[in-house]
């Protein structure tokens, strides 16, 4: 497991500003590049994921004309991809640092979305869905790990809350 220099940065910030209330939360997230850009990044991912998730059924049924069983299989594939990703993540996380895995998984996510958007055939759509959902699982797990590694325990609740709020803010908009 690789650990970035972030934990020292967050600790220093928390020591300098005292450590109470929402100010800490905002300052820590704002001044820690990994946490801050990670939250913005996941907000962007959620915009895309929310839009795709809310339009997927419409796309599959009205645009591609898939029947109920095919749609059900595609949705089930999402779950299978997530569980499958869980099996390979420990191996990945031993070899690569969390941030590299997050960026790689996100690029794979973009590729998967393009496959879904451009693919017209059932097996290709399944492949795209597997790629997107597996990548999301890898990225989210690495985000949790990275955040826990770089944040001191006494600040973790607030940092989790702040990063979670930033990341989830655009979901209603995108949906």
């Amino acid at each position: 497991m690789h650990i970035g220099p972030g934990s020292r940065v967050v600790k220093t910030i928390s020591e300098n500003i005292g450590g109470s209330g929402g100010l800490v939360r905002l300052v820590v997230c704002g001044r820690h590049p990994g946490l801050w850009w990670g939250s913005i990044f996941f907000a962007a991912v959620n915009i895309g994921a929310g839009a795709i998730e809310s339009l997927l059924l419409f796309f599959l049924q009205h645009h591609l004309g898939f029947r109920g069983l095919m749609v059900g299989i595609i949705y089930a594939a999402q779950g299978i991809a997530s569980v499958g990703a869980m099996l390979v993540i420990p191996r990945f996380s031993q070899q690569w640092p969390p941030l590299l895995l997050i960026v790689s998984a996100s690029l794979a996510m973009v590729g998967g979305d393009m496959i879904i958007g451009l693919g017209q055939f059932f097996p290709i759509i399944i492949g795209g869905v597997l790629l997107v959902q597996g990548s999301i699982a890898v990225a989210v797990t690495q985000r949790f790990t990275y955040r826990a590694l770089v944040t001191p325990t006494d600040l973790l609740g607030r940092v989790v809350a702040a990063t979670r709020t930033i990341a989830y803010l655009p979901v209603p908009l995108s949906t």
């Binding site: 497991m1 869980m86 790990t145 609740g157 979670r164």
Partner: protein, 184 residues
């Protein structure tokens, strides 16, 4: 001891999420059957997501200053009570405002539960980086499995025992989570 605690904590997380997913399927189902309108269902979704954005910051502060076990037990216990209350009194024929209030209350409790749970995992494994990675992976794995199993179970439950039964079942799942949190 560390792995035992992680097991109990993740077990509680699994049951809590199972209860939540049963609720997340049963509540819009009830709203749709009551109103047959997109607006009525959408209002339920808004009440599910809005507290996550509004109250999560407060949840984070609580997670840092209050005992995590108390917060997890209180959150799960509150959800169990609200679901049992909702299942018994409101789902079939009660006023819709009560159902919306239950949705809002459970979503608000989740805004406290999730920052607390995610903050407590590293503490449970004593900050060991390898164990943090393992615990994060297991947490995500549990969540992924529940995302598949939860809606499936809710769907089967609605078909066999009805929406009220699913609400009561979800309340029981939350109660199991409370017990497992007590054992952690």
């Amino acid at each position: 001891m560390v792995l035992r605690n992680v097991r109990y904590l993740l077990g509680a997380f699994a049951f809590s999420n199972l209860g939540l997913w049963c609720f997340l399927i049963a509540a819009p189902w009830t709203l749709y059957n009551r109103y047959h309108s997109a607006l009525g269902v959408a209002a339920g979704y808004v009440m599910t997501f809005a507290p996550q954005v509004i109250f999560t910051s407060a949840g984070g502060i609580l997670a840092d200053y209050w005992p995590w076990r108390f917060l997890l037990i209180a959150s799960d216990g509150f959800c169990a009570f609200m679901l049992a209350f909702g299942g018994a009194l409101t789902i079939e024929h009660g006023p819709s405002t009560v159902l919306y209030a239950i949705i809002l209350a459970i979503a608000s409790a989740q805004a406290i539960y999730h920052p607390t749970f995610q903050a407590v995992l590293p503490e449970t494994v004593n900050g060991d980086p390898a164990l943090i990675a393992l615990a994060s992976n297991l947490m995500q794995g549990v969540q992924n499995v529940i995302v598949v199993v939860g809606p499936l179970l809710a769907g089967i439950g609605i078909g066999t025992v009805g929406v009220t039964g699913v609400f009561i079942g979800a309340a029981l799942f939350f109660l199991v989570a409370v017990v497992l949190n007590l054992l952690t």
